[in-house]
Symmetry: C3
């Protein structure tokens, strides 16, 4: 069985956001899959998807602060600056973290570890709503 769904995430502030519940609510065929894979792909190159800790919100804050150290604004060699100081760092973060995650499905559920959740990395100050393509495939 294949199912593909376009999911629109509401606009969020710059930083990392836990979106596991919001995603799962839209995966209506998930309970029917005994064995499969969920593939999530974000159709933007200034945001990212990643898997990380689902309990303590300071993990998301620390992640944002550290990614800003690794990929600071206003690096003197940046040439792609017309769309704002947050734009080129956002592109680099999106490649470091990735545009997609894929998660095993086992007996109708995402087979995530107990502490794992799905993060949206919003790397722009005003990124607006974001579009994700969710592709479920399994049997």
């Amino acid at each position: 069985m294949w199912q593909q769904t376009e999911i629109t995430l509401k606009a969020r502030s710059r930083g990392f956001h836990l979106i596991t519940k919001e995603i799962c609510q839209q995966l209506v065929v998930l309970p029917q899959i005994d064995c499969g894979i969920l593939h999530l792909f974000i159709k933007h190159c200034s945001a990212s998807l990643t898997i990380n800790e689902n309990a303590d919100p300071t993990v998301r804050t620390d992640m944002e602060n550290h990614l800003n150290i690794i990929t600071p604004e206003k690096a003197p060699y940046f040439q792609h600056t017309d769309e704002g100081d947050d734009d080129m760092p956002a592109h680099i973060k999106s490649s470091l973290l990735g545009a997609s995650v894929s998660i095993p499905i086992t007996f109708g559920q995402l087979n995530l570890g107990i502490w794992q959740g799905i993060y949206l990395g919003e790397h722009r100050e005003h990124g607006g709503s974001r579009t994700i393509i969710a592709t479920i495939h399994g049997e």
Copy 2:
């Protein structure tokens, strides 16, 4: 054909470890797949999976040393510190490197490059055993 296997990796020291053989030994249906994909997912957010050089152990040492420079312990802005100095850097490394790898299967074998192997990134001092979900899908 779909097959899903839970693989338990023994506890390993902090750093990068080549696990290609240990993974392949548990993929009993691999020889039956002419064309497919192996998806490996680690159910933890302080460890990671990645593909890298399979021959020289100093690559793994250099990787560990450099990741420790990129993501040092005791950054002054870290708030998520209750579980030890190695915890928040481990979370960041797990997102930079990723929780999953997917590898093409061709004529019953992983279609890796001659120098490629599967690495476990163990980012905690005492991470304990780690669980991987291996999903094979192909024909």
Copy 3:
């Protein structure tokens, strides 16, 4: 339907290169897939695949310059140096960016965002031609 194709990319200079068209030209079954996934895997550990901005070439230059800051040559702790100063940084970049990308296929086309393209990250000075395994699966 499954289809696997080995794609040989011509040798390119160190840096990031947009390869979307070159890849798509070789995916002959793509128009027949209503719903599926394209998986691209590079069989090398000193190059990478990632998704990023497809319009402004300075994004690729800025990406290269910034990755060279994150992962500089001649770090004093590097032991894996026999194959040149660019070798160990190339291995680290390949793990940070990743060896594979997977992209949803919708009604015969890659379902990329309007600004997204497929990048080859060539991390060696003289990496030579590079081999990619393209696996298409869908219905």
